[in-house]
């Protein structure tokens, strides 16, 4: 029993079919609990008022936006090294979700920034690197769209993902060099010193769990759709041949 058994599409379909309802349910429960708890049962911040509550959407979506790219990097590597189709399809399935998370983070940030910083947008390093991340997602998805042969498309997007990761990381530190920040530091970190207060911390954790579960559910669903699409195309090709 090794992890690579799940690279078999049939095995993957069975397992993901069993996980999917649980992941969706967990996402629904955790998001409801986290957001309702966060929105209605936490006090307002003494300086930011009720706008502080956007943190329950902004922080999880921003975390997911970055982590989804990392997941795509890992699955692209697995595709390049071991040539498991499920892996390539998972990367393809994850990209639009990542783009959506990036846009949610940017939009919620703008909504919060307008009353707090007095501006929708500032060329702050964090904001700028998110905009750049958004461009990388767009390019990645456009390349998938443009190539007809699915294996070539998987190969080329995987290479683009590897090279893009290096340049995305470079851009991240380049913009730090280029402009001073307006954005506050990390809201969450493992050393407790700079965390947000506990009142906000626990609903935020629940909400993050909800976003992770939501991503897992959407990603499995989209990968399953891709696999079914492949099967359909194979069947049609066989029928045309017969």
């Amino acid at each position: 029993m090794s992890l690579w058994e799940y690279a078999n599409p049939k095995k993957f379909m069975e397992t993901s079919g069993r996980i999917l309802p649980w992941a969706s349910g967990l996402a629904a429960v955790a998001l409801c609990v986290g957001l309702v708890w966060g929105f209605f049962f936490t006090p307002d911040d003494y300086r930011q008022g009720s706008t502080v509550k956007i943190i329950y959407i902004h922080v999880p979506s921003a975390m997911m936006a970055i982590n989804i790219w990392v997941m795509m990097l890992v699955t692209s590597l697995i595709w390049l090294v071991r040539r498991h189709h499920v892996s390539a399809l998972a990367a393809k399935a994850a990209a639009p979700i990542g783009l959506t998370m990036t846009l949610i983070a940017l939009a919620t940030g703008a909504l919060w920034g307008q009353p707090m910083w007095g501006t929708w947008w500032a060329w702050d390093p964090r904001l700028t690197s998110f905009l750049i991340l958004c461009l990388f997602y767009l390019g990645y998805m456009a390349l998938w769209q443009a190539i007809d042969n699915p294996d070539t498309a998987a190969d080329l997007t995987a290479v683009l993902c590897l090279v893009g990761s290096v340049f995305a990381l470079l851009s991240r530190y380049a913009v730090n060099f280029w402009s001073q920040g307006l954005h506050q530091g990390a809201s969450l970190s493992l050393d407790k010193k700079e965390n947000v207060s506990d009142v906000f911390y626990f609903p935020l954790l629940v909400s993050i769990a909800g976003f992770v579960a939501l991503f897992v559910a959407l990603m499995l669903l989209r990968t399953r759709t891709e696999i079914r699409g492949r099967r359909l195309r194979a069947l049609m090709a066989r029928q045309r041949g017969a």
């Binding site: 750049i132 461009l135 990388f136 767009l138 390019g139 456009a142 390349l143 443009a146 190539i147 070539t152 190969d155 080329l156 290479v159 683009l160 590897l162 090279v163 893009g164 340049f167 995305a168 470079l170 851009s171 380049a174 913009v175 060099f177 280029w178």
Partner: protein, 218 residues
Amino acid sequence: MTALFWRDLRLALRAGGGFGLGLAFFFIVAVLVPLGVGPEPTTLARIAPGICWVAALLASLLSLDRLFALDQEDGSLDLLATAPLPLESVATAKTAAHWVTTGLPLTLASPVVAMLLNLPAAGYPWLVAALFLGTPALSAIGTFGAALTVGLKRGGLLLSLLVLPLYIPTLIFGAEVVRRGAVGMTATPPLILLAGITAGAIGLLPFASAAALRMNLR
């Protein structure tokens, strides 16, 4: 490899390739910007580093889609792939030829553009140095983008969508060098970082380009 380099160079020079085109584009962008933002010398001096670099990015983007596409159409790319020369060397030769036909002329012409944009005199050497060190990275990244999109019918637009985000670090450090140089601050740290990006891009990206070419030709 040298032969391939000279062949590409001759093709670009004689067959009406992108040689003069990129340079002319560089000039036109630099002329249009003052017409757009107004002739105030102080404003122009402040935005000159950025304009020079953005114009250089766009100019080097212009001739990228022909880099492999012409060779693919007439079949010489297949010959190159089966030749004893590894594709990594082919990619390097292509990058070098692209740089000599776009990056180098841009670097040499940049003082004229800087003059049009009223860049302070202290910035001139930094601008030339930054473009000289930075444009090879643009060519290497562009070769990678061209290798990714070589098989596509309308790869040009996609190519710019893929390549421009990859240009960002080069642009930031390159413009930062000129900006600091123009106001008399020390500009060596960004210049060293820029040179580092170029060294990394020249050294590593040909492998990625060759991998992409192999995938496209399979």
